[in-house]
Amino acid sequence: MTTDRITDRTTAAIDVQDLHKYFGANEVLKGIDFHVGTGQVVCVIGPSGSGKSTLLRCVNMLEVPTSGKIFVAGEEITDRDADVDQLRARIGMVFQQFNLFPHMTVLRNLTIAQEKVKGRKKDEAVEIARTTLAKVGLSEKESAYPAHLSGGQSQRVAIARALAMSPDMMLFDEPTSALDPELVGDVLAVMKDLAAEGMTMMVVTHEMGFAREVGDNLVFMDDGVIVEEGDPREVLANPRHERTQLFLSKVL
């Protein structure tokens, strides 16, 4: 390991080294090296079953890697002694299916983890929650239950819930894939604002427009490996690898 690599690791928000993941006998990640610098937006694209969501879910240990190392904000989350809960509190995550807590109001969705995990006082948590809700444009929904929100509103609340924890970085797992087409724009707008503020983001997505416009780096995965990566405009316009070309010809 070179000195260069070690410095790299400490400044990187996410550093994945030689990651392998099996589901039973099925190897879904076949030795991934992956990197997100602090303040960077990295988009991951690829066909379904390529392992891109699994990679993202490994970063906060929702999936436990079979082998390999993952460093998050300089700490090894894959270490046996790592305080995974404490690290997860610093990594916001947004799911395709929103996963809001249906038995709580929007405001409670945003405050519960602040209080129970971060130990913030109720008043402080509520204040942060209100500020965050205002940021995603949903202040008027604070006492609504998730069942009464549209998909786009739900996803913006889910983003706000993650942001209320004041995370160092955000993971997005196909955040717009479950939305009606006309609602995608609102969610992408919130994500663009977030990127403009300098938030570190890893985004698994099918939104090529977002990747081109906002992404600092684009990673194309297929069959458990990273096939190609680079500047999003470059990769989308002139894909070098045949598999990338084939995939892009289908989705663009």
Binding site: L62, D85, N99, F101, A147
Partner: protein, 263 residues
């Protein structure tokens, strides 16, 4: 040939006709005078009050509430043990559930009252008979509820646990704050069933040999029936059971439709 709709209409008339015939037959043929003398002697009905309420109904409610409360806590603990990643916890929970679900409640009552005294002569179950009732009903009810609660927990979408964990909650915290509250909404109807069953099982306290102040509805009714040589007291306590269970069903139905709206 009759059209399908005509045939359906004719079939419906037949069903009404049968219903009316049965009701009329029962009403006309039954010896109502005889029935009333045996089941509804007004003098005896009046005699049951107020003690059927102040003692019997009250005790049934207390026994059931204590048993259910203990059973609910036990059921939740057993359910979480069943779902634990620690093997011995799962085995113990499975054993306890199978044992107390399989044994007749009466046997549990006898085991606790007689068996405990024989096994630990120096000790006593606290709160006397109420303690035994609470333990016995709780063990039996808890064993049943454990499986219901486990099914409820497993019916909560996996994404809920993942979202809670991704926010930094521990597994236990996520269970308590996120998964279990949703599970209880799902299993509200079967839990109500369990509560109603326990209400009736509470009649088994008679095995403990109670004094009058400890009588619950069934014991009270049987004593009344024996001393009056008439079935009226049984009918009165039967109505008291319905007085508990019917409002309970109504309240739960309200709660269900309310949580339906919050979904």
């Amino acid at each position: 040939m009759a059209s399908p709709r005509q045939r359906a209409a004719r079939w419906r008339y037949v069903q009404y006709a049968v219903l009316v015939a049965v009701v009329l037959t029962v009403a006309l043929v039954a010896d109502w005078g005889q029935l009333q003398r045996a089941f509804w002697n007004w003098e005896l009905v009046k005699e049951q009050f107020p003690r059927v309420l102040t003692i019997a109904l009250k005790n049934t409610l207390i026994y059931t509430a204590c048993g259910f409360a203990f059973g609910l806590v036990l059921g939740l603990v057993l359910a979480l043990m069943r779902l634990s990643s620690v093997g011995p916890y799962r085995w113990i929970a499975t054993g306890v559930i199978e044992l107390f679900r399989g044994l007749p409640a009466l046997v549990v009552f006898i085991a606790l009252s007689v068996g405990f005294r024989l096994a630990f002569p120096a000790y006593e179950i606290p709160f006397g008979n109420l303690g035994i009732v609470t333990l016995a009903l709780g063990l039996v009810g808890g064993a049943y509820m454990a499986e219901t609660i486990r099914a409820g927990i497993q019916a909560v979408p996996k994404g809920q646990m993942e979202a809670a964990r991704s926010l930094g909650m521990s597994h236990g915290r996520a269970m308590i704050s996120v998964v279990v509250p949703q599970a209880f909404r799902i299993i509200l109807p079967p839990l109500t069933n369990e509560l109603i069953l326990l209400t009736k099982d509470s009649s088994l306290v008679y095995i403990l040999g109670l004094s009058l102040s400890g009588y619950e509805l069934t014991k009270f009714g049987r004593e009344g029936m024996n001393s009056a040589s008439n079935l009226t007291p049984i009918i009165v306590i039967a109505l008291c059971y319905l007085l508990i269970t019917v409002p309970l069903s109504i309240v739960v139905r309200r709660m269900e439709s309310r949580s339906e709206r919050a979904r």
